[in-house]
């Protein structure tokens, strides 16, 4: 017995893994295909089958027959509504391979879930109903498949039994799809005429279609190259490993843990650490079961280097022969995945590899019509829209174009307030500007300038409703600072809009840009050693957080000037509330546009019933 198992285990050891998705229009038979594959490769157990029979009787849509859709639609809401909401992962194996299949939802509103499934796949099985041909949904899914870099598509022309197994129907659809694939740059398409329900051409050739001589679905899946295979065939590209975790169990050991995302590393090999550019060589490749002479793509290892090099999480160790590029601006494709649209200029977290940085989309070059692939002009991206954008980071990252390396070219954007994953992006290329405009390191620096002024530079950021008293308080604070020989400057919302920001209106996007510019100006002034007082409504938390991120911890002092709306409206110094109430001022904060109160301001000033000197004193105490 033991030898049998050992033999089996050895066979099993050499089995490779293939991940694929099924996608296509609703009712094209994705679930039936998976159900059949699982059933016919014995990936389904008896109790699961009997549960499926019971479910079919209750929720099924196939009459007396088993409804395989219920096998993959695992959520109650999915079974009740008869639709697929989220991707389901199922597993089966043959003698040759182990498979993970992700069944992707077809509806447009769940495109982000489809992208989730597609991001890890080697192959996409795109189903088309033989009676309907290539539909809008087929186009959209194929587009996402190509965007996420899936190289191989199996075009399953399904329900051939309903078109009398007619070869001309099949050929027509193949031509239709091939045109789409050419347009999208999908180079490898294998069309298979199929009846998933009856199993025709699924595991073996069908007698119903003697005219078809290509592979069955399973034969194709068992033999198509996976991404791991492709790399082996292409030779050994240069090693790359993002450092995920720094291991310091004691003072004598410094290990760098990570998973190789490309190529291989050999013990003794010359490497470079990015972005610092420091060079060293690999001293040891450590695993729990012993040191390795070589680590390959996909392996999770711990490296030690021959020299003491300062390395932290997010750095990338690369082959010394061919380091990758480092940039802080690049062009990328973005799939927007959140109900709240993309706002250029707003700060988001960008996570790529093991590093998370601040990022802003500086420009949307165009949006791509997901159904026709036409470029369209766009000021924003809404849910499920795809665009080509320029992205700016607050620090330079080592990267590769996504087409060459998914780990070093694929990223997500995270909303700074809600923490939602709002977008997935793929890097196309670096914008050379980043490489050419070096930050000029000056000999006279902020510390020197501040020392001459005998003060600590600060940015005091007053936020609050219009008429809450921001400018009044800032004015008094500045008077007091001047009286005590401090060097100051005031940036006031209204004044800045007369000059620097005169081209901006009051839409959400313009207000974001308004705040961004002022924050940058304030940063330069703080660098000049000044105490800067910014009085801006700055209604959105994410922009204030963006401003905060430009400064070091103690430099930024957020002062929430908290005056009840009713009181601001009653004062109405500038007559703006009256106009807003009359509908003459769209997007007026507090009336027709929200004010997001700070959650953790350095100073929260309740102004009602308090004297201006008392309020100014509170601010001065805070920065003293």
């Amino acid at each position: 017995m033991a030898t049998d198992i050992n033999a089996y285990l050895q066979r099993h050891e050499t089995k490779s893994l293939l991940r694929f998705i099924t996608c296509g229009s609703v009712d094209d038979g994705k679930s039936t295909l998976i159900g059949r594959l699982l059933h016919d490769t014995k990936g389904l157990f008896d109790d699961q089958l009997s549960a499926l029979e019971q479910d079919s009787a209750r929720h099924g849509t196939q009459g007396e027959a088993m409804d395989f859709a219920l096998l993959v639609d695992g959520l109650a809401a999915e079974r009740e509504q008869g639709i697929t909401i989220d991707v389901a992962y199922r597993f089966f194996a043959t003698e040759k391979r182990k498979f993970i299949v992700a069944d992707c939802p077809g509806h447009e509103q769940y495109t982000r879930n489809m992208a989730t499934g597609a991001s890890t796949a080697d192959v996409a099985v795109v189903l088309v109903d033989a009676r309907k041909g290539v539909l809008t949904q087929t186009r959209r899914h194929s587009f996402i498949v190509s965007r996420l870099g899936i190289r191989h598509v199996l075009l399953a022309v399904n329900k051939m039994d309903l078109v009398d197994y007619d070869e001309s129907v099949f050929n027509h659809i193949v031509l239709q799809y091939q045109a789409l694939a050419d347009q999208l740059g999908i180079s490898s398409v294998q069309p298979v005429p199929l009846s998933a329900l009856n199993g025709d051409n699924l595991l073996a050739h069908s007698d119903h279609m003697p005219w078809y001589t290509g592979p069955s679905v399973l034969h194709y899946l068992e033999n198509i190259e996976s991404r791991a295979d492709a790399e082996r065939v292409d030779g050994q590209p240069e090693g790359r490993m993002p450092v995920q975790w720094v291991c310091r169990p004691n003072l004598d050991f410094r290990g760098f843990a990570g998973t190789l995302c490309q190529g291989a590393f050999k013990q003794g090999e010359e490497v470079m650490v990015l972005p610092s550019g420091r060079r060293s060589s690999i001293a040891r490749i450590i695993t729990q079961t012993g040191d390795l002479a070589e680590a390959v793509n996909g392996q999770a290892v711990m490296l030690t280097l021959a020299d003491e090099v300062d390395i932290s999480r997010g750095d990338v160790i690369v082959s010394g022969r061919a380091p990758c590029e480092v940039a802080d601006q690049f062009a990328a494709h973005i799939i927007w995945m959140d109900e709240t649209g993309l706002i250029p200029g707003r700060g988001y977290w960008l996570k790529m590899g093991a590093r998370t940085v601040n990022a802003t989309v500086t420009e949307i070059k165009h949006r791509i019509d997901i159904n026709s692939q036409e470029p369209l002009a766009a000021k924003t991206l809404q849910l499920n829209e795809i665009g080509v954008c320029n992205i700016n980071l607050d620090q330079a990252l080592p990267f590769e174009p996504y087409a060459l390396n998914r780990t070093l070219g694929g990223f997500i954007l995270i909303d700074r307030q809600s923490n939602a994953t709002v977008a997935a992006g793929t890097v196309d290329f670096a914008l050379r500007r980043a490489g050419n405009i070096h930050w000029q390191a000056m000999d006279v620096n902020k510390a020197a300038r501040a020392a001459l002024k005998a003060q600590t530079p600060r940015c005091i950021w007053f936020t609050g409703l219009s008429g809450s008293g921001k400018s009044t308080i800032a004015n008094r604070v500045e008077q007091r600072l001047l009286a005590s020989h401090h060097h100051t400057y005031s940036l006031d919302g209204d004044n800045v809009r007369h000059g620097l920001n005169r081209d901006l209106g009051f839409t959400e996007a313009d207000r974001v840009e308004n705040v961004r510019r002022v924050a940058e100006v304030a940063k330069l002034m703080v660098d000049a050693g000044l105490i800067v007082l910014v009085s801006f409504i700055s209604p959105f938390r994410s922009e204030r957080d963006m401003a905060r991120s430009l400064f070091s911890d103690d430099e930024f002092v957020e002062v929430f000037v908290d005056t009840p709306l009713a009181l601001c409206e009653q004062r109405d110094v500038k007559g703006l509330y009256a106009k807003a109430r009359a509908g003459l001022l769209p997007n007026f904060t507090g009336i027709s546009s929200p004010y997001e109160a700070p959650l953790h301001p350095e100073l929260h000033l309740h102004t009602e019933g308090r004297h201006i000197d008392e309020l100014a004193e509170a601010v001065l105490n805070k920065i003293a």
Binding site: A76, W245, T259
Partner: protein, 300 residues
């Protein structure tokens, strides 16, 4: 270049997930349930951080109704792997004497597992909780992300899961919220056994067939593991050669008759198995979509 086998790939993926948790969360914990999946988790945890000791403590949410063999096994673990293992029992449930017999499987599971788990997570203020669930176990698990967001009430919202692209995991949460992390998401039951065999990972002996006292109850074989089990009228414990494919609370876990008393034999049985492991779990059959519902309420 050597090709990585699929077990190698699964191992690497799990290690990557462990390291991501250790790097991005301030107070992670690993749920340890003594079973085979926990055994694999623990083995991978040690691998991920070698030569350092695992920086993530273990937590066992104890219902007090586990098999005696499981408790004995648990005692050996902390020392073997050099980890810190805490045990939590719901004190109110214990005081009220909640048990699977008089309170039923549903109430017992809710109070001693789900509520107890939430108590322990709240008390420890853990921002990430690692569990051994696999997507091949059950249909709602098949839908869950590797990093699965929970709100401050520990609830899962299956209709609004965060997109999860590649292996780039969004670990950002607000205070009070948490993430459940599943490093074994892409493993199957067979993978688990093959890996245990390959890596020689110690497991509770109950997984191997032996003569054990059982009664037939509600279509399953229930082991009479201690004197707390009330026998129904006409029930007489019989000695049968049985083993368990999954281990939970002994009164809720059905045994299967088997001659597989070695790991090799267990794997051989797996290869021809016609039923899923969770068939032996009473709590899954309580109500339609019961796992999804329990998960929404905070169960793992």
């Amino acid at each position: 270049m050597n090709a990585l086998s699929h077990l190698d790939r699964l191992e690497a993926e799990s290690i990557h997930i462990f390291r991501e948790v250790a790097s991005e969360f301030s107070n992670p914990v690993m749920l340890y349930s003594i079973g085979k999946d926990s055994a694999v988790l623990l083995h991978l945890l040690a691998k991920a951080f070698h030569p350092a000791k695992p920086p993530i403590p273990l937590l066992h949410v104890d219902t007090t109704w586990k098999f005696r063999d499981m408790y004995a096994f648990r005692e050996t673990v902390a020392a073997r792997y050099g980890v810190n293992l805490k045990v939590h029992i719901n004190p109110e449930g214990l005081a009220q004497g909640v048990n699977p017999f008089s309170h039923g499987a549903t109430v017992h599971t809710d109070i001693m597992k789900t509520q107890a788990l939430k108590q322990a997570l709240d008390a420890g203020q853990f921002d990430a909780a690692i569990g051994g669930a696999r997507r091949d176990e059950e249909k709602s698990r098949a839908k869950e992300r590797v990093f699965s967001f929970r709100n401050a009430q520990h609830r899962w919202d299956p209709k609004a899961q965060r997109p999860e692209l590649w292996d780039v995991y969004n670990t950002r949460i607000s205070k009070g919220e948490s993430v459940r992390v599943f490093p074994l998401s892409n493993w199957t039951e067979l993978d688990i056994w093959l890996y245990i065999y390959r890596e020689k990972i110690p497991v509770v002996p109950l997984y191997l067939a032996a003569m054990r006292p059982v009664v037939e109850r509600d279509g399953g074989l229930i082991m009479v593991d201690d004197e707390r089990m009330p026998l129904r009228e006409g029930e007489v414990p019989m000695m049968k050669k049985v083993r368990f494919r999954t281990l939970g609370c002994y009164p809720l876990t059905g045994a299967v008759e088997s001659d597989a008393d070695t790991l090799e034999a267990v794997i051989a049985e797996m290869l021809v198995a016609r039923t899923s492991e969770r068939q032996g779990r009473m709590i899954d059959h309580d109500q339609s979509a019961s796992m999804e519902k329990k998960k929404q309420e905070g169960y793992f």
